[in-house]
Each structure stands twice: as structure tokens, then as C-alpha cells.
């Protein structure tokens, strides 16, 4: 990085809001990059991204249609991680499975966060009985362990990746609603909201344009912290046959497919599990690092 950029970033007297923000992000990055475990998490995440983006180049064989003549081959040779009971290359299926994982994580984030923010911001801004009803509903959802509620939703909705995403999103939003409500309560009485109101802005406009944007930063952090959990729940649903429809590769269902031959052909269910573990660990390491940077009180010392 050129020294002039560095000077601009570390200036004691930022001249614009953008400069101050960039400086904060830069300092955060310095702290984050000094944490080797957090950097390991970042590397795992980038590997996941690369695997999803360049799957056709990284996977030597077709992930969906196998060669029955080569079923249940041990790892080695042409098949690095062996083949499954339908003669499909496990390495190729794991590579393509990263797309499923990323898709689920991304879709859950963009579905659950808006549900949470709308419910939380409305409750915080409108107050009164609306707040009571919405927050009681939030508590009711929090009263279930997430996986059990997701199972119930998935059982009622039927299997399939869309339903799995919906089921997970429906269990993931309550913490976001709580955060959004807390942030809303903090800004509801501020002058700029009062000014907007005096200018004749409608409630809808104030919530959408002036309150929700204030909830976003803390919400984004929380969503990123939750991703490891989402991956584990998605894998659990896949393991129980409530995820992606076969023959599409999904790591959880791959473990389940290998379950019946685990004693003789251990590799079929071992390697997909390693993939789930690594990716979930990566997100957890990133989340831990982020927590240290953003909130030193709650982090390693607290």
C-alpha cells in the first residue's frame, strides 16, 4: 500500500465521513489480520468461494452421473477420495456441493435478515400492542431449539432445497428482530427522526429510510456470526433427507448415503463430513475474529 494512502487512512483528523469509516475498517483489518486463526478462517472461506466459482475446472469428473463399473472404489489413483455406491467421484461431488452450501447460506441470510429487521424495527418504532405481539411471537420462536423447529417446518413443507432454505430462515430471524428492535429504540427518539417527522414523512418512510439503515451494521455482524450454525443445520436437514433432492450433491446427504457402508467403505461418508466441518470451522473462526475486532469487551477478554 502506498505510504500516502496509509497516511490518509491513519489520519488523526479525518475530513470526511468516508475517510473516518475507511480508517475504522483499515484498523479493524489490521487487528483481524494479526489473528492467525481468523486469517485461517478467511482462507477457508475463500477456498469455498473458489470451489463454488471454479467447480467445473476443479472437479475432474461428473458430480451427478456415475460409472457403475467403478462403484465404491477406495481413495487413490483417478479418484482422489474414492467413489460412492453409484460410482460417482466423491471429490467432484464435494467440489460441486460447495455451491449448494453457499447457496443455502446466502439465501438464508437474505431471507431471514429482512424478516427480522422488518419485525424488529416495526415493533421498536410503533411500540404499544404491536410491539407486545411481535416480540411475544419472537419469543415463541426462540422457545424452540433451532434444529427441531427447522425439522418441523421442513417436515410440513416437504423436502427440496427451497423448502430447506425457507425452514432454516424461519428459525433464524428471531435474534435479528431483537437486535433491530434494540437499535430502533436507540434511534427512535433522536432529533433526526423528529425532524423527518416534522417534514411530514410517513411512518413507513421513517422506518424504511431512516431507521432500518441504522440497524444494518450490527445486523450484518450478527448474520455473519450465525453462518456456521446455518451450515450445520442445513447439513443436518440434508442428512435426514430433507435437503436437496438427489442426485444433486449436498454434503449432509452425502454423509447419509455413505452411512450404510461405513464399516467397509469408510471414505464415502467421511470426506463430505470433513468438508462440512472445515467450512463451518472457517465461519466460526471468522466470526470469532470479527467479534474480537468489533467488540473487545465481549471478545477474548470478556
Amino acid at each position: 500500500m502506498p505510504p500516502s494512502w496509509r497516511r490518509w487512512l491513519l489520519s488523526d483528523a479525518p475530513t470526511s465521513r468516508r475517510q473516518a469509516r475507511a480508517a475504522r475498517a483499515y484498523l479493524g483489518w489490521i487487528a483481524f489480520s494479526r489473528n492467525p486463526l481468523a486469517m485461517l478462517g478467511l482462507v477457508i472461506f475463500l477456498a469455498l468461494l473458489a470451489s463454488a466459482l471454479f467447480a467445473p475446472a476443479l472437479a475432474p469428473l461428473d458430480p451427478v452421473s456415475g460409472d457403475l463399473a467403478n462403484r465404491l472404489l477406495a481413495p487413490g489413483g483417478e479418484y482422489w477420495l474414492g467413489t460412492d455406491q453409484q460410482g460417482r467421484d466423491i471429490w467432484s461431488r464435494i467440489i460441486y456441493g460447495s455451491r449448494t452450501t453457499l447457496l443455502i447460506v446466502f439465501m438464508v441470510a437474505v431471507t431471514a435478515a429482512p424478516i427480522g429487521i422488518v419485525i424488529g424495527a416495526s415493533a421498536g418504532y410503533l411500540g404499544g400492542w404491536v410491539e407486545t405481539v411481535l416480540m411475544r411471537l419472537t419469543d415463541a420462536f426462540l422457545a424452540f431449539p433451532k434444529l427441531v423447529l427447522a425439522l418441523a417446518f421442513a417436515a410440513a413443507l416437504g423436502s427440496g432445497i427451497e423448502n430447506a432454505i425457507l425452514a432454516i430462515a424461519l428459525t433464524a430471524w428471531p435474534p435479528y428482530a431483537r437486535i433491530a428492535r434494540a437499535e430502533t429504540l436507540a434511534v427512535r427518539g433522536t432529533d433526526y427522526v423528529a425532524a423527518a417527522k416534522l417534514n411530514g414523512a410517513s411512518d413507513l418512510r421513517i422506518v424504511l429510510g431512516h431507521i432500518m439503515p441504522m440497524c444494518l451494521p450490527s445486523l450484518i455482524v450478527r448474520v455473519s456470526l450465525d453462518m456456521a450454525g446455518v451450515i450445520l443445520i442445513a447439513a443436518g436437514l440434508g442428512f435426514l433427507g430433507l435437503g436437496v433432492a438427489p442426485p444433486q450433491p449436498e454434503w449432509g446427504s452425502m454423509v447419509s448415503e455413505g452411512r450404510s457402508q461405513i464399516l467397509e467403505q469408510w471414505w464415502v461418508c467421511t470426506y463430505p463430513g470433513v468438508a462440512i466441518f472445515l467450512v463451518s470451522l472457517g465461519f466460526n473462526l471468522i466470526g470469532d475474529g470479527l467479534r474480537d475486532v468489533l467488540d473487545p469487551r465481549e471478545g477474548r477478554d470478556g
Binding site: 411475544r136 415463541a140 427441531v148 425439522l151 413443507l157 454423509v255 461405513i262 467421511t270 462440512i276
Partner: protein, 338 residues
């Protein structure tokens, strides 16, 4: 002061009641409004119009939705969770039958988590930022990241198939389960009551692997929270005072600091007990452990939606009760919270 306490009890009961109501609203919505059609599940795809209409009427599905919800609440309140589609037996009785298995597993799991998690957390706090601290942190992080169903399979592969140290899935060796007269439903206790030491050993051997698995997850959470609570205490001035007075380090940590974090730690342990209910769903599936979790997943495979909902209500209700008891215990035990 008395009226204050009565008020707080009333407030707690009210909040538990509304949360329970919300919980039932959620399960009601799932079972009535989502695509899976309860009528088709009972009469099958090829039923005639009149059969379907009759089943609709029998289930009360032709009544207004609010009336249906009121009837549903009344049924649940009187312990009627409906009948299982697969077996035709009352769901509540089936749940009561499988629950002890989960209780046994989760209790031993929590015990393992406490016995190892608290010392590890204390060790990490007293050796903050050393290799030991990082190692314990990593053990915890792995616990948070590993898919439990996969770890269970790996455990079976290593300890059952390769090393032959532990028995395979199930609560007892094949064929033995009918030999135990169920009294408490807890296999270890029932075998002891029957005075059969060999069978007790068998039950315990079957319990070790799944319980250690759950214990590991509980350990990950408990050690992390213990470390953080302990660090919060060790920074306080009274610790400095004690050190200056020459109190031994072990006494400072285990007596002074531990005494102050015992109550919040109780909350942590209770929460992890609740979390194990969730972990037990997949663990029981892997270990063919006939408990609440396997009941739910079996019911999903059997398209038995009423049974799935019954199991979900049971887990949710247990969760709420654990939270409430913890809340009450906190208030009773911690003078600052009064």
C-alpha cells in the same frame, strides 16, 4: 416485599404462559396451514371425495380457523396431542415412553460437559493467552463446528468397527432390550433395579459413546462461558486484595472467584442441557437410540405430521420449563438479583 415477590412470580407465570401460547400457535400454523395435507396423510391419495370430506369433518378441519385453534389449545391443555398416523396410539403416551431414553443421554452428556468443561474453562482463564488457553479455545471451536451426526458415525467407525472397544448402536446389545422390565425407563437404573450387573454394564457401555459426543458439545459451550465468567472475576479488586494478603492462587480461583460465578454458571449449565435436546435429535438417529429425537425423525420419514408436531411441542415445552426454572433459581440463589 411479599407483594413484590408475588408480583414477580405472577409476571414469570404470565410470561411462560404467553410463550407457551405462542409456541402452540407456531405448531398449529405449521400443522394446519402448510402444504402437507393432514387429510391426505390419513386417507391416502386415492380416496374418494366423500371419504375426504368425512375425514375433514372428523378432524374438525371444516370449522372456522379460530375455532380450530381454540379446540387445539383445549386438546393440548388436557394432554391430548392427537393420535399417531403410523401406530394409531396417543402421541402423548408414545412421547412419555421414549422420553426417559433422551433424559438419560442428555443428563450423562451434561455431566460430562460439566466435569470437563468447567476445569478447562478455569484453566484457560488462569493461563490466559498462553498455549494452553489457545488449545482449549481450539477444542471448543472444533466442538462448535463439527457436524454431530458425522462425529457420531466416526466414533462408531473407530471405537466400534476398528478398535472393537465399544458396542454398536442401540441402548443394549441386540435382543437384550426385551429382557429389561421398564420401571423408570432409564436403562442404567432399570438394570440395576433388576439386580443384573452384566446388563447394567452393557447399558453403560452403549451409553458411553453417544453421551461423550453430547458431552463434548456441552463442554465446548461450558468451557467458553466459564473462561469468560472467570476472567470477569479475576479482574476485580477483591482478587487483587486477596493476592496482596497472600491467599494461595488455588484458593483465590476455586473459592473466591468460583463462589461468585457459581450462579451464572448454573444458567450456563441449564442452557447447555436444553441445547443437548437439540443435539440429541441427530445423535439418536445415528445411534438408533429410541428417544425423543429418533421419535421425531422416524415420524418425519413416516409422514406422521401429528407425531412430529407432538415431539416438537414436547421439546419446546421442556425448553421453556428449563429456562423458567433457571430464571427462578437465579433469583432465589443470587441476592443481587432479588
Amino acid at each position: 416485599m411479599i407483594s413484590g415477590r408475588v408480583q414477580s412470580i405472577l409476571r414469570t407465570s404470565l410470561s411462560v404462559a404467553t410463550t407457551l401460547l405462542g409456541l402452540l400457535l407456531v405448531t398449529f400454523v405449521i400443522s394446519r396451514l402448510l402444504p402437507a395435507d393432514p387429510v391426505l396423510a390419513i386417507v391416502g391419495d386415492h380416496a374418494s371425495e366423500s371419504t375426504i370430506a368425512k375425514a375433514r369433518h372428523d378432524l374438525g378441519l371444516d370449522k372456522p380457523i379460530l375455532t380450530q385453534f381454540a379446540i387445539y389449545l383445549g386438546n393440548v391443555a388436557t394432554g391430548d396431542l392427537g393420535k399417531s398416523v403410523r401406530t394409531g396410539r396417543p402421541i402423548l403416551r408414545e412421547l412419555a415412553h421414549v422420553f426417559p431414553a433422551t433424559l438419560e443421554l442428555a443428563t450423562l452428556g451434561t455431566l460430562i460437559g460439566v466435569v470437563f468443561g468447567i476445569p478447562l474453562g478455569v484453566l484457560a482463564a488462569t493461563r490466559k493467552d498462553t498455549m494452553i488457553d489457545h488449545l482449549i479455545r481450539l477444542i471448543g471451536l472444533i466442538g462448535y463446528s463439527v457436524p454431530i451426526f458425522w462425529l457420531g458415525l466416526m466414533g462408531l467407525l473407530v471405537f466400534y468397527a476398528k478398535l472393537d472397544l465399544l458396542p454398536g448402536p442401540g441402548r443394549l446389545d441386540f435382543g437384550y432390550e426385551e429382557m429389561v422390565v421398564p420401571v423408570t425407563g432409564l436403562m442404567t437404573i432399570d438394570t440395576l433395579l433388576a439386580g443384573d450387573v452384566a446388563l447394567f454394564g452393557n447399558a453403560l457401555a452403549h451409553l458411553i459413546l453417544p453421551a461423550s459426543l453430547l458431552g463434548y458439545f456441552s463442554l465446548a459451550y461450558i468451557s467458553r462461558m466459564t473462561r469468560s465468567l472467570m476472567l470477569g472475576q479475576l479482574r476485580q479488586e477483591y482478587i487483587l486484595t486477596a493476592r496482596v494478603k497472600g491467599v494461595s492462587e488455588a484458593r483465590i480461583v476455586w473459592k473466591h472467584a468460583m463462589g461468585n460465578i457459581l450462579v451464572p454458571l448454573l444458567t450456563v449449565v441449564a442452557l447447555s442441557y436444553g441445547n443437548l435436546l437439540e443435539g440429541s435429535v441427530l445423535t439418536e438417529t445415528v445411534f438408533s437410540w429410541r428417544g425423543l429425537g429418533l421419535y421425531i425423525t422416524d415420524s418425519i420419514f413416516g409422514q406422521d405430521l401429528p407425531a412430529v408436531m407432538g415431539g416438537t411441542i414436547a421439546v419446546g415445552a421442556i425448553f421453556i420449563v428449563i429456562n423458567m426454572l433457571t430464571d427462578v433459581a437465579y433469583r432465589v440463589l443470587d441476592p443481587r438479583a432479588r
